[in-house]
Subunit: 140 residues, 4 copies
């Protein structure tokens, strides 16, 4: 939270997303974004797998968190994740995962998002709920 003053305002979501080097490392692609929403996808690679040979919880969280960042920064006010909760439904080994973030509630300083992660057939892989702190201008 210390660096909230240095957060970047999203002016263009495609440009904002291109700055996300960790998203690139993971092979995450932007599908679409609109105010309060974002969809991203990731084709599973060998280097997304954990010791059990299934996609690492960190990779699934990363996909969800990337959709969450795009949705929560979409209003042009910088937003920093303060916490997140993820429940895993099903392990997966191959294919493409899609994460869709949706804004649940928006206050001047705090906002809440739900992200659903499914596989390409629509099977539920995980559900994520996250909250951000927003660097709104002083006045409100």
């Amino acid at each position: 939270m210390v660096s909230i003053l240095e957060l970047v305002s999203m002016e263009n979501p495609v440009h904002f997303f291109k700055q996300d080097r960790y998203g690139a490392l993971n092979g995450i692609m932007l599908v679409e974004t609109s105010p309060g929403r974002a969809t991203v996808r990731m084709t599973i690679r060998e280097d997304h797998l954990n010791s059990h040979g299934t996609v690492h919880g960190g990779a699934i969280f990363t996909l969800a968190d990337t959709a969450f960042a795009l949705a929560s920064n979409s209003h042009g006010i910088p937003a920093a994740a303060i916490n997140a909760h993820i429940s895993f439904m099903k392990a997966v080994r191959t294919g493409t995962l899609v994460a869709e973030a949706e804004e649940y509630a928006l206050n001047p300083k705090l906002a809440t998002y739900t992200v659903r992660v499914n596989d390409e057939r629509g099977e539920k892989i995980a559900i994520f709920q996250g909250m951000v702190y927003r660097k709104s201008p002083r006045k409100e």
Copy 2:
């Protein structure tokens, strides 16, 4: 959860950790492990950063989740993460992060872990709480 029957039993933590390709992609190193505990670390690289230029929440979660997987699989009974909660204290841009997982409670089928993520000076970066489902033998 579908693939719980296919989970791998940890016989040797070093070997188990070496099978974690996503841990390798992230540059995570095993520091130490003992029954119910694990410590891992990760030196921050440019490709761990998000659009704000700070370490991506997914990379911090991945570090914590890796310690959690080592600790929860340390009893030789395969364990699958079913959910996790993470709170972020402070954004970070450079240096090394350390995650220490500690078992909070162990039941035959479920176990709970706390993971603390600090920077190299011991400043708190995140706290994580996770639960696993354990593939214990039938009898209990």
Copy 3:
């Protein structure tokens, strides 16, 4: 989890709900229930308030948790809550709160639910996500 063997099977939701003495202490009313779903409501009383004069987080959680218990036990298989996450959107002082639980995913041993808590005008008060362990018969 120790007492999972002693959990009660829900045969009739109205009867099951009547056994919930804490629900009664809180003045919670059953609105409706069907497999995987439940709606309950609670009219705010003076003794639901906390030191700030707003409804206690524990009372809001209790309302959500009661809907969660009804929805998760609705399949006739006893279900015990193993964890829950709640985000609070807005403080409230008077009126009636409604909690609607919806099943998100159901596996033989684990199931996940989302509960939305709104006030009588539909304003969002809280969102809750919970997981249960199910005492399914041995065979699966």
Copy 4:
């Protein structure tokens, strides 16, 4: 969050606690409090039980949340819970429960607490992690 401007500053923890009518309804007693910490207890009554005959998750959450409120308001700056996560270890039917809240991290606007709920013999019943938004004066 709407009513954050109306939050009460804790000047005296005993007085603050006495204003908590829902704590009183639940029979919660203040054991001790100091800056960033609080311990409360609750003797289990028949009307704390759920449909399974064990203490309702809402009653356990309420006990933890009460300790959390005392700890997070202990610095004299009003604090409102924004979210909480609870994991349940063990069901319980009788005896006394104790909740101890401990501050994990404190920032001007946000703070994080861990609350452990044990029975009278020290057996783990639940672990709770919560975050508050603090109504700090403008300057920071």
